[in-house]
């Protein structure tokens, strides 16, 4: 549901149908809810077992979900949260691309990757399958948006694009499968535009297998219960999710909470890009207002509307959703206000390759705003980024092109529940970073160090999680793009907790010269013998350090999480007798 007022754009999920939906029993609803989540899991399993790229099968850089005929989320497999709230946009845009819902038939699978419909860069390509009941009516859609290693951007990964055309080949909603048959022309175009066509081919087929598996699973559920009972149960499932999330939101004091975030730069110009967000709570309704954000940027840190909505949905669903797998009902209490032609609502052909980075910042800043209202409801800031590195090159011995990429864990903010850990950013909660031994078997590096960084945490009654130091020693010449944000705004503490260390990247040449610290760089050439260092941020602390138990300080020193010098500086009370213990 979309409307524009005073040049602002308001987006929210359609409201409950209430009594019009018809009565249904709470038992069938629970059974159908389970079955839909199980169906989404089957999609995920099929995809990861057939995918070619480690970004999919190991890192889990994808989302797999099932929607009803009105593009409402029925179930999403545990996968990339940042894609969570975007697939309804993808499905609708893909259908428009092929001329509308009247132009699809059973067995069709659509390919769509326009950033302004997916919310992502062109590499995040959606496959959409309309699910026909008895070959006649569409009862829903299955969709998988997955990160392809390359689809022809100016570099395999970019932080400095100036328009959409530098970011990859666009498929504006086309049939990849027509009535079950692969459309060779489209498939051929996709492969011809990839630097790693073998991986692209494998990943496309894996996605197709996944959406088909989901379609079959959805049909099994609908056939078992019949369309009318299925549809009534789905309405109740949505209402149930809405009631549960509203129950939580009620507890947040009403008010208007403003918080400021920033991007290190826009990838092209050097200046910091600050932005303000407003979270307004009224009863159990929440509005996230991005209208105060800067205009569309010259560089690729613009976040197309689907991802702006998704970031807001993730923030609210994870805050208030009782750890349940989300469905449409979870999105209903939320409205998102944006201003067209701004950083959080850019229009074509604005560059948006790094769309995910402002989206991640939006999540963090929403929580920063919520912390004003209810500090115990959210953790302090984490390292605040996925700290992505994308590597490529040509192998010396074989002459074969290679490419790989991964997010990297950061220290998590401490909270009222205790110290923070070291995990991937919440926006990619299900993704995993690749094992050193797998990396070293495939890529020409040797990891010198993957270890927690002493003293990188924010001090507090509960301390933040530690950041990690990664040292990549190059065994062959390679290229790297570093997409690392939050090198200037340190992870903040809450309620008197201290800041953690911010993210940083630097390199050392074999001759001993070293670079300055940076965050975003595209296509940096590293030579054999060079070392790239990625130093991920530590989490912010929670509560005043003076309230930390002395025994916990001593334990941290003994385990080498913090140095004695750091401990004396931040926790002098643990040294009351001169020495710890």
């Amino acid at each position: 549901m979309t409307r524009c007022t005073e040049n602002l754009h308001v987006y929210g999920a359609a409201p409950s149908r209430g009594a019009r939906a018809g009565a249904v029993d709470p038992i069938t609803t629970e059974i159908i809810r389970h079955s839909l989540n199980s169906a989404a899991n089957q999609m995920k399993r099929a995809l990861i077992r057939t995918a070619y790229s480690p970004t999919i099968y190991d890192v889990f850089d994808f989302a797999a979900a099932i929607y009803d005929s009105e593009f409402r989320l029925l179930a999403q497999a545990p996968s990339l949260p940042l894609f969570m709230g975007t697939l309804n946009f993808c499905i609708q845009a893909a259908l428009e691309g092929v001329g509308g819902v009247g132009n699809v038939s059973s067995g069709d699978i659509l390919l769509y990757n326009n950033p302004f419909g997916t919310g992502s860069h062109p590499q995040d390509a959606a496959l959409v399958m309309p699910v026909f009941f008895d070959d006649a009516t569409i009862i829903g859609y299955t969709a998988i948006k997955a990160h392809w290693l390359d689809i022809g951007a100016k570099e395999p990964y970019c932080t400095d694009t100036v328009d959409m055309y530098q970011e990859g080949t666009i498929f504006p909603g086309v049939k990849l499968f027509n009535a079950g048959e692969l459309v060779r022309d489209i498939y051929g175009i996709a492969l011809a535009n990839s630097r790693v066509p073998k991986a692209a081919a494998g990943d496309i087929m894996a996605q197709a297998i996944g959406v088909r598996a989901g379609a079959e699973a959805l049909l099994r559920v609908v056939r078992r219960y019949g369309v009318p009972l299925f549809e009534r149960s789905v309405e109740q499932m949505f209402d149930h999710a809405e009631a549960s999330i509203r129950g939580y939101l009620e507890r947040i004091p009403d008010g208007r909470y403003v918080a400021r975030g920033q991007m290190d730069n826009n990838g092209v110009d050097a200046e910091i890009v600050p932005f303000d967000l407003v979270v307004e709570v009224d009863g159990s309704d929440v509005t996230v207002d991005f209208s105060g954000c800067p205009p569309t940027q010259n560089g690729p840190i613009n976040c197309p509307l689907p991802s702006t909505v998704s970031a807001s949905r993730i923030a609210i669903a994870m805050l208030a959703g009782s750890n349940e797998s989300p469905c449409e009902g979870h999105f209903r209490p939320l409205r998102v206000i944006t201003r067209p032609d701004s950083m959080f609502h850019p229009r074509s052909p604005a560059p948006s390759f790094l769309y995910g980075w402002p989206a991640m910042q939006a999540i963090d800043i929403i929580y920063r705003a919520v912390s004003d209202a209810m500090p115990q409801a959210v953790p302090a800031s984490s390292g605040g980024d996925v700290c992505g590195l994308v590597w490529w090159g040509i192998r010396e011995k074989t002459g074969e092109p290679w490419a790989t990429g991964s997010p990297h864990p950061v220290g998590q903010g401490a909270s009222s529940h205790g110290d923070g850990g070291t995990l991937t950013h919440i926006s990619e909660a299900a993704t995993r970073f690749a094992p050193t031994e797998v990396w070293e078997s495939k890529t020409p590096w040797l990891l010198e160090r993957v270890q927690l960084a002493k003293d990188s945490c924010g001090a507090g009654k509960y301390r933040g999680g530690l950041g990690i130091d990664f040292h990549f020693f190059l065994l062959e010449d390679s290229f790297v793009t570093t997409a690392v944000e939050r090198t200037k705004l340190p992870p903040w503490g809450l309620l008197g907790g201290h800041d953690g260390r911010p993210n940083a990247v630097r390199y050392r040449r074999a001759d001993g010269t070293a670079s300055e610290i940076f965050g975003k760089i595209t296509g940096l050439k590293l030579r054999k013998g060079d070392v790239l260092e990625l130093l991920t941020g530590g989490g912010g602390g929670y509560g005043p350090p003076a309230e930390r138990e002395a025994a916990a300080v001593v334990e941290d020193v003994r385990n080498g999480y913090i140095s004695e010098e750091y401990a004396r500086r931040h926790y002098p009370h643990a040294f009351a007798d001169g020495t710890p213990e």
Partner: protein, 675 residues
């Protein structure tokens, strides 16, 4: 003489089965589990069921245990020290960076099994191809040994980067630790697993060091007590990856026993399928707190080569048994949004379901089944009598919140539990490209036969098998275990003729190692094969003769493509590569006769009837109530019926036909209809 004892220690009950090889007679009993000293429950069962001369005449003692698992669950393992490569001190703590509860803002991993100060780094480095990048500094090992002594470390795990490709540094570290006087357990990562992925291999190595002492002491105590009772046969324990190993080996390789318990049931299902020609099966093992399901194809449970327990990866063969928190004791409640939920919280054995009248007040699956008449009169041979008023009162609390009556609530609880179990069965079959409608359902465990008809209807399955001794089937399954041992090596190579020759060389070495430890009868090999560039590989069973492959590279490529097509629905034509080679030796215990069906003739008098709810007819019907032992081989009976036996109750809905198979299996055939 091949008399056998099988004892499976579960969370609630210790199940005992004794098999007399001469007569084929079987006796079963159940005693409460003694969690602190599990051997006491085992011995109590033996003392209650067997005469001393029977113990003395027993050739094999087969065991399934949760001792290792409990050490992990309760975090009561050894004080472990870990040696790792410099720069990689935090492999256990950094993990893979993911969240077990992905929608939980506050989720934090549980503390690592080894605290950071006892994770010591060593200057050394091996490259991925096995070349030494940096020689090892032995002084680091000596310094660590000194520190570990001060810390009271009783077991040391050594896990160096890329040790799977070259174990020299780990071996040298072990020698140096011994030279420095360390006398406790040492586990080296390359001995635990020859595969890559440092987090998974290091964790498995640490788990071994962590549980070894406890497992070892437990097995020694049990063996000593068995010996005192005159047992002089061979004691064996089930592996997580199926098959059994000697107690002696289990003390060396404790990490292989972690899910010994649930695997026993899967192994039994495989053996039953082979012995009775049941074909492909999916199991439904329903106990007090959990539901376990496993797919049996060609008479064997499906194997994986990595397991997971309490969120930790275990890099070892692992029978693919999936568990969900749904069982007879699962508690029903109404959630904040007004939906009825069942489990995963369980009333366990204490206080147990409300109808047990032991103080439980929350409604459980068992209460629901009893109120609906599915458990018959509620009087069991064990002496337990269920209390209907308490069950109704417990269900009433939930019914009141939902504004529906008690019967509807009870039906809802059964349906929700059945749907959750059916989803798990659907996932485990459909993932493998198998349609559950073509399989038989094998229902066992205390509450499995109760759920069988509901599960089969959820999945449109045509036939259910309720095996002999269904309530104690896991223990019965132990009796069929083969003695096995597997070794694996990661060696990535393009699938061509030279790879076939390399595989044969590897197999020769691995079988030679295995032969040194085992008197083997049968040799088997599995190759992990994948498309070049892919990561997930398929496990291909390859034909052998004299321990060498009988297929060439084209033949292997064909086997791989066949398997790929079954799994994913399309046939790849890209080049493939071999990732790992797995060699197994298997020694079967002497073949066992199937248990005779006791088959006292039922006489002609019609069985008594009682009212129970029919899920198919959606109304209350008269069910025949029959004791299983009153149904002789060849007998048949038309549902609806409730079949009672010592340790379980089978619910047979309308339209199911019961046929007593001479093998002792009770087969239920779907004749359709909802009359």
């Amino acid at each position: 003489m091949g008399n056998r004892i099988g004892i499976d220690v579960g969370g609630t009950f210790t199940d005992f089965v004794y098999y007399d090889d001469e007569t084929g007679a079987v006796s079963v009993t159940k005693v409460p589990t003694t969690p602190l000293e599990p051997e006491k429950g085992c011995l109590r069962a033996i003392d209650a069921a067997l005469r001393p001369e029977e113990v003395n005449g027993t050739r094999w003692f087969l065991h399934g245990t949760t001792v290792g698992l409990n050490a992990l669950l309760e975090r009561r393992g050894a004080t472990v020290g870990l040696l790792v490569t410099e720069g990689f001190r935090d492999i256990l703590e950094i993990r893979r960076g993911d969240r077990a509860e992905m929608y939980n803002l506050f989720w934090t991993p549980p503390p690592a099994l080894v605290p950071r100060r006892r994770r010591q780094t060593v200057r050394e480095r091996i490259r991925a191809d096995g070349a030494v990048h940096r020689p090892m500094e032995l002084s680091d090992i000596r310094a660590a040994a000194t520190f570990f002594r001060e810390e009271g470390v009783s077991a040391i795990a050594v896990a160096f980067l890329n040790a799977y490709a070259n174990p020299d540094h780990e071996l040298a570290a072990e020698r140096e630790l011994r030279a420095a006087g360390f006398a406790g357990q040492i586990t080296l990562s390359h001995r635990v697993s020859g595969e890559y992925r440092e987090y998974e291999r290091t964790t498995t190595t640490v788990i071994d060091a962590y549980v070894k002492e406890r497992m070892s002491n437990y097995l020694l105590r049990l063996q000593r007590e068995l010996g005192r009772r005159g047992f002089d046969g061979i004691p064996l324990i089930v592996r997580s990856g199926g098959g059994a190993m000697s107690f002696e080996e289990a003390r060396e390789r404790s990490f292989e026993t972690i899910i010994s318990g649930p695997v026993a049931g899967a192994e039994g299902a495989g053996a039953l399928s082979r012995a009775c020609g049941l074909g492909d099966l999916v199991t439904a093992d329903v106990g007090g707190t959990s539901f376990d399901t496993c797919l049996i194809l060609n008479g064997r449970p499906q194997l994986m080569y990595e397991g997971e327990i309490i969120g930790l990866p275990v890099q070892t063969p692992w029978v693919d048994v999936r568990s969900i928190g749904a069982g007879g004791g699962s508690i029903a409640y109404v959630d904040a949004g007004g939906l009825l939920r069942v489990g995963p919280r369980s009333a366990g054995a204490d206080p147990g379901p409300a109808c047990y009248a032991r103080g439980g007040v929350e409604p459980t699956l068992t209460d629901a089944a009893y109120v609906l008449g599915m458990l018959g009169s509620g009087t069991f041979e064990s002496g337990l009598t269920l209390n209907a008023d308490l069950a109704t009162a417990a269900l009433g609390t939930v019914a009141g919140t939902l504004h529906i009556d008690v019967d509807e609530t009870a039906r809802g609880i059964m349906s929700i539990a059945a749907a959750a179990m059916a989803n798990a069965m659907r996932e485990i079959t459909i993932e493998q490209g198998i349609d559950p409608r073509g399989l038989k359902l094998l229902a066992f465990g205390g509450a499995g036969p109760l759920m069988g008809c509901l599960l089969a209807d959820e999945l449109d399955m045509p036939e259910i098998c309720v095996p002999p001794y269904a309530g104690n089937f896991s223990a019965w399954g132990l009796l069929a275990a083969d003695v096995t041992q597997t070794k694996a090596r990661t060696r990535i190579m393009r699938l061509d003729e030279s790879a076939i020759s390399d595989v044969n060389d590897l197999l020769r070495d691995m079988f030679a190692d295995l032969a040194a430890e085992h008197q083997s009868q049968a040799r088997e090999a599995v190759l992990d094969v994948r498309l070049q560039g892919q990561d997930h590989s398929l496990n291909i069973d390859v034909p052998l003769e004299d321990g060498r492959l009988t297929v060439d590279s084209a033949g292997l490529a064909r086997l791989f493509a066949d398997s790929y097509e079954t799994m994913y629905g399309w046939r790849p034509d890209e080049p493939a590569e071999i990732v790992s080679v797995r060699a197994t030796v298997r020694t079967s215990l002497p073949r066992r006769q199937l248990p005779p069906v006791s088959g006292r003739s039922a006489g002609r008098s019609p069985p008594p009837k009682m009212s129970a709810y029919s899920f198919r007819a959606k109304t209350v019907r008269d069910f025949s109530v029959v004791r299983r032992e009153d149904l002789p081989a060849g007998a048949s009976l038309r549902g609806p019926a409730i079949i009672t036996e010592a340790t379980t109750t089978t619910y047979v809905d309308v339209g199911w036909q019961i046929e007593m198979n001479p093998s002792g299996c009770m087969m239920l055939k779907n004749e359709g209809g909802r009359q």
